[in-house]
């Protein structure tokens, strides 16, 4: 992983001016909102009504349990996990299977496929036709359909990353595998994919975050409460509980907490993705 440290030549004594400035931005603007969210989530409705910017006293842990049960977060959560997992895994698998022959030009029209994907980056995202298609293909308001409709991002993103990455793998590897009598799918699954593991993690996390956090998708393509992922579930909860911000803040925090934990654990992959994006160009 690329270090984000500073160029060796400029290592010098601590710069307190930079410390103060970066610290103010990070703590006030970034830690602040999350801290405030947590504070409101722990306040009683009466305290919030009279003095919303104050330390919660007494600590209302019950807000969390009420938000969890009232908003049926459990259902939303398992839906989110299901959608994210299948969309990510399937889209990347399909992307790899498409990217490999294209990157090697094993099939005629490889160039055309590549250009088609490139052009796709500039084409409009047709939300209206997608909505019509979803109903014609029976993908509207069901779990499988929702997953299918969310393969696009991972497919496109994964395709470009894989085409680039497969090119760095020597062709000799294909040849020796073929000579050993290794079947095609077996070769992809057992040899190539493990080789791209480092980039796979990064791509996978970006795709997963994208699917997990999508709000417009569930607003347009889902109608039943029991099918909603967390984003739409939280948004619905917001609509019906805005008179009670403490409960709502607890709900937002319940949704945010796993994301914050995931961020802390997976940050290096996210950084790697951002860095890769900048260097690739």
């Amino acid at each position: 992983m690329i270090s984000l440290g500073k160029p060796a030549s400029l290592r010098e004594k601590p710069s307190w001016g930079a410390f103060a400035l970066a610290g103010v931005v990070a703590v006030v603007f970034y830690l602040g909102p999350i801290a405030y969210l947590l504070a409101v989530a722990l306040q009683s409705p009466a305290q919030f009504l009279n003095n919303p910017v104050s330390f919660p006293r007494p600590l209302m842990w019950s807000n969390f349990t009420s938000a969890w049960s009232q908003a049926t977060m459990g259902t939303y959560f398992s839906n989110s996990v299901l959608y994210t997992f299948f969309s990510t895994v399937l889209s990347l698998l399909f992307a790899a299977l498409l990217a490999f022959p294209v990157s090697r030009r094993y099939v005629r029209g490889s160039q055309v496929i590549y250009l088609l994907f490139l052009a796709g980056m500039f084409l409009p995202v047709g939300l209206v036709p997608l909505f019509i298609e979803s109903r014609m293909l029976d993908l509207y308001n069901n779990r499988i359909g929702y997953i299918v409709l969310h393969l696009q991002y991972g497919l496109t993103f994964g395709f470009f990353i894989f085409v680039g990455y497969f090119r760095t793998i020597p062709v000799e590897l294909d040849e020796s595998a073929a000579m050993d009598g290794c079947g095609y799918f077996h070769y992809i699954w057992r040899i190539l994919i493990p080789l791209v593991k480092p980039v796979l993690a990064t791509v996978g996390i970006y795709v997963a975050i994208n699917v997990w956090n999508d709000l417009i998708g569930p607003v347009v393509f889902l109608a039943s409460n029991q099918l909603f992922p967390l984003t739409r579930g939280l948004y619905t909860f917001y609509g019906s509980n805005q008179s009670d911000w403490t409960l709502l803040a607890a709900g937002v925090f319940i949704v945010a907490a796993p994301l914050i934990i995931a961020f802390v654990l997976l940050q290096r992959y996210l950084v790697a993705g951002a860095v890769a994006g900048s260097l690739k160009s």
Partner: protein, 295 residues
């Protein structure tokens, strides 16, 4: 080379490509082309109602007969996109510069700024709606210290600037990291030499750092511009396009799914958005690449 995979394996090669290709055509290519087609029809989405080809009538309606909506949306979109692109990049350059200095807590600060990359529009939007709550939220309390008050997201004057602020807040970390990575590729000797020449840190930044990180600038500016021209999910959570935050994307969504049955017009708005994005993306790409080559 293609002889490597013959017979059964070659069939497998094609089978493997099939799902990806099919999905891409079905959900990438078809909807894009269909948007253009729907924009020349009076499609209403009502079951059983006939769909007629009406030529450019939707475009005439949008631009000639009743141009207030589209003109306002284009204005909001441009204000939003230009502000986000410029401010986000300037701020990220500043942040990246701060993160090249050495001091305790640097990694933690960097992580905090980058965190919104994982949070998503619902959490971000609702958290800021809470902060910007005009009756007693922290922003209102702060403003009250100077005797001021505002409706914030419900204000015709401040809603758009606030939406721009939250959008930048959300993507500042990513942009910063990209710049930071670029800054780390600048050879240290260049700085050494400049220092020996007695150059001020502004001159060093202006003459060495900024030109050397041109590829990062290209990526960041392109991503911010194209992204901000198309995004509307955060606006959907914060204002739903009310109070002069009706960007083209929001306008398209509202026309298609909120209180109008004119899906043809919605597709027309989408085409306008697409045309603007394409023009901006191609121009920026040309300008920025040229800049990279010159340097």
């Amino acid at each position: 080379m293609a002889s490597l995979y013959r017979g059964r394996d070659r069939v497998q090669l094609y089978i493997g490509m099939l799902p990806g290709l099919l999905l891409y055509v079905l959900f990438g290519v078809v909807p894009s082309v269909a948007t253009a087609v729907i924009s020349v029809t009076n499609y209403s989405g009502i079951p059983g109602l006939p769909v007629n080809f009406i030529g450019l009538q939707n475009y005439v309606q949008a631009f000639v007969l009743d141009s207030t909506g589209i003109v306002g949306a284009i204005r909001d979109t441009l204000v939003f996109a230009v502000s986000v692109t410029v401010v986000q990049n300037v701020a990220a350059l500043g942040m990246a510069h701060l993160f090249t200095r050495r001091y305790p807590g640097r990694a933690v600060f960097r992580s905090l700024v980058f965190m919104p990359a994982a949070l998503g529009v619902t959490v971000i939007g609702l958290t800021w709606a809470l902060i910007l709550n005009p009756s007693g939220g922290p922003a209102a309390s702060l403003l009250a210290l100077w005797g001021g008050s505002s409706a914030f997201l419900g204000s015709n004057r401040f809603a758009l600037p606030l939406v721009i602020f939250v959008q930048i807040w959300a993507s500042l970390g990513f942009t910063t990291i990209v710049y930071l990575a670029g800054m780390n590729t600048v050879p240290g000797e260049l700085y050494e030499a400049a220092k020996i020449d007695g150059a001020s840190s502004w001159v060093i930044f202006r003459r060495i750092t900024f030109p050397m990180i041109a590829p990062s600038t290209t990526v960041n500016v392109l991503l911010a511009a194209v992204g901000s021209l198309n995004t509307y999910d955060l606006i959907y959570v914060l204002t739903d396009g009310l109070y002069h935050t009706n960007t083209l994307g929001m306008y398209m969504f509202n026309t298609a799914f909120e209180g109008s049955s004119n899906l043809g017009l919605a597709a027309t708005i989408n085409m306008v958005e697409f045309a603007i994005t394409l023009a901006v993306a191609l121009t920026l790409q040309k300008v920025l690449r040229k800049r990279e080559e010159v340097l």
